[in-house]
């Protein structure tokens, strides 16, 4: 079966983001960009399905600027067979991205679509579920275990109280949580080979998707800073402070 895996280009998770002085967003100039960590887990899962002989082809797709080719090349180096960049410089909302992915899925007809559960920039946690609604496919979100068996996929999901397992009819959508797998690193020969793998470019227009949004960001601010308090010297002082100063015990 064919597996489609979506990846997003985001600010690297090790970067400490700063809010711009004019409060229009966060500083993105000269900041290291990487593949969203949850998407890395999605790519890894797709490759493992291929290694197990379940997936026959892994197609990576990204919606983003020209530079997002880097993240697709990473996916190719990790083992994806080919890549599609839906190129746009606009900052798209989750619904617009889901509509684009729906159009790509219509062309590609995958049996399984893997996405990260959320991107670490916008923290929306929406795209996979929205794609589920648009395609009419079942969704297994926040997955910590994925097992394909014939025409169904069994997904163990991380939920607030513990774990839930659902069985989904294929084609289906799975969004990844942290404990699904540990992504591998790309090896140098594979990085070289990835440069020759096919990377096709499309546009939202050509896919017939309008990317407008009803949401407008009015401003972006730094959160209220919590200042460091005091150091206490021992347990007795700590208990005293909690009882008499903070009055929380």
């Amino acid at each position: 079966m064919k597996v489609l895996v979506a990846v997003k280009r985001v600010v690297d998770h090790n970067v400490k983001v700063r809010v711009k002085a004019d409060n229009t967003g966060v500083e993105l100039a000269n900041v290291k960009m990487s593949m969203n960590p949850f998407c890395e887990i999605g790519v890894e899962e797709a490759i493992r399905l291929k290694e197990k002989g379940i997936a026959t082809e892994v197609v990576a797709v990204c919606v983003g600027p020209t530079a997002a080719q880097e993240q697709l090349r990473t996916a190719l180096a990790l083992g994806a067979d080919r890549a599609i960049l839906v190129e746009t410089d606009a900052e798209l909302g989750s619904l617009a991205v889901a509509k684009i992915l729906k159009a790509v899925a219509d062309q590609e007809q995958p049996q399984l679509i893997l996405l990260g559960k959320q991107a670490i920039d916008s923290d929306n946690n929406q795209t996979g579920q929205m794609l589920g609604a648009l395609t009419g496919f079942a969704q297994g979100t926040f997955a910590s275990k994925v097992e394909v068996d014939g025409d169904t996929v069994s997904v163990t999901r991380e939920i607030d109280g513990g774990f839930q397992t659902v069985a989904l009819k294929l084609p289906a959508i799975v969004t990844t949580d942290l404990r699904l797998n540990e992504p591998r690193y790309a090896k140098l020969p594979d990085i070289m080979k990835a440069k020759r793998k096919p990377l096709e470019t499309q546009t939202p227009d050509a896919l017939g998707v309008s990317v407008g949004s009803t949401l407008k960001t009015l401003k972006v601010e730094a959160p209220a800073q919590r200042s460091a308090g005091i150091k206490v010297k021992d347990v007795a002082e700590l208990v005293d402070k909690l009882k008499n100063e903070a009055k929380v015990i």
Binding site: L95, A98, Q126, A138, V166, G229, A246
Partner: protein
């Protein structure tokens, strides 16, 4: 137009997060309806009708909704939502799983995890793991929103007397089935609702050592949490994880024991009223957000603290 709150519930009881979401709805408008979709969920419906400020409760009782499968529930919610100006649900794993599917069925954008209501169309929400706060305005006809519980006080669970209306419903989309679940059983308060949370990190060294934290939590009537490092090391199950990708908590007292204070952990607890950090590394980042820091070996401190309380 009225505001629709999709209840988080267990069929027999209303989930605590629903009360915070009702408070968010009150900040938007006065006419608040709650939808309870489940199986044999009359008790949850009755509890919803008692919540202060709620004007009407819709109960959709059907086997198709028994386990909140989003493929089924989203169809129901999208149909009901057309009569409302806003649709809100708690940003729990159930709400996050469901609501974007509803939004896409309505062909509208969703606003995730709001922490404040500025006006009926403008909201604040954290981005970049809480390292920035965005103010977002929506021009959508139906505003579809998930609510972060720690941003709003809980509405009173008693005092209301809303009318209950049973709605005919029940389409099983037939593409997903519930297989099973493993829910951790505990007599302690729920992590996200507890007044006191004691979290252990990698410094705890083993799962057995968490027993010390449980004993302390029981004395304080609190819950036990953990950092991602402690969960990944296999000390405790994942449902204890506090952080950006785990639970977001804001108790009156948060005690971080052997937690270094990675950004993603801070994102889950920095709104706590009082933070105590116990760590033998004086340079641990957790001390930068702690009201009271104690630089010491936790294996000396915790028994001492236990004895002192």
């Amino acid at each position: 137009m009225a505001i629709l709150v999709i209840a988080e519930h267990s069929n027999s009881a209303l989930g605590a997060a629903t009360l915070n979401t009702v408070s968010a709805a009150k900040a938007i408008g006065d006419d608040i309806h709650i939808l309870v979709a489940g199986e044999n969920c009359a008790a949850a419906g009755e509890a919803a009708a008692k919540v202060e400020g709620v004007t009407k409760v819709l109960v959709a009782d059907n086997a198709a909704y028994a386990h909140q499968l989003p493929e089924n529930v989203a169809l129901l919610v999208a149909e009901q939502a057309k009569a409302y100006s806003h649709v809100l649900t708690p940003a729990t794993t159930t709400g996050k799983n469901l609501l974007p599917r509803v939004a896409a069925l309505l062909d509208t954008d969703q606003i995730s995890e709001i922490i404040s209501v500025e006006s009926p169309d403008t909201f604040k929400r954290p981005i970049y793991a809480g390292n920035a706060i965005a103010t977002v305005q929506s021009s959508a006809d139906i505003k579809v929103i998930t609510v972060r519980g720690t941003g709003f006080d809980a509405a009173a669970a008693e005092g209301g007397s809303a009318a209950i209306e049973n709605i005919a419903a029940g389409v099983d989309a037939g593409i997903s089935t519930f297989v099973g679940e493993e829910i951790a059983k505990s007599d302690r308060p729920d992590l996200t609702a507890a007044r006191v949370v004691i979290s252990g990190g990698r410094g705890m060294q083993s799962g057995e050592n968490f027993d010390m934290l449980y004993a302390l939590a029981d004395k304080l009537g609190g819950a036990v949490g953990a950092s991602r490092a402690a969960v990944d090391a296999g000390f405790v199950p994942n449902d204890l994880q506090v952080g950006q990708t785990g639970k977001i908590v804001a108790p009156d007292l948060y005690i971080a024991v052997g937690v270094s204070g990675a950004i993603q952990h801070l994102a889950g607890m920095k709104d706590s009223k009082v933070i105590v950090a116990i760590n033998k590394d004086a340079d641990a980042p957790i001390f930068q957000v702690a009201d009271y820091g104690l630089v010491a070996d936790l294996f000396d401190v915790i028994p001492e603290l236990d004895a002192a309380l």
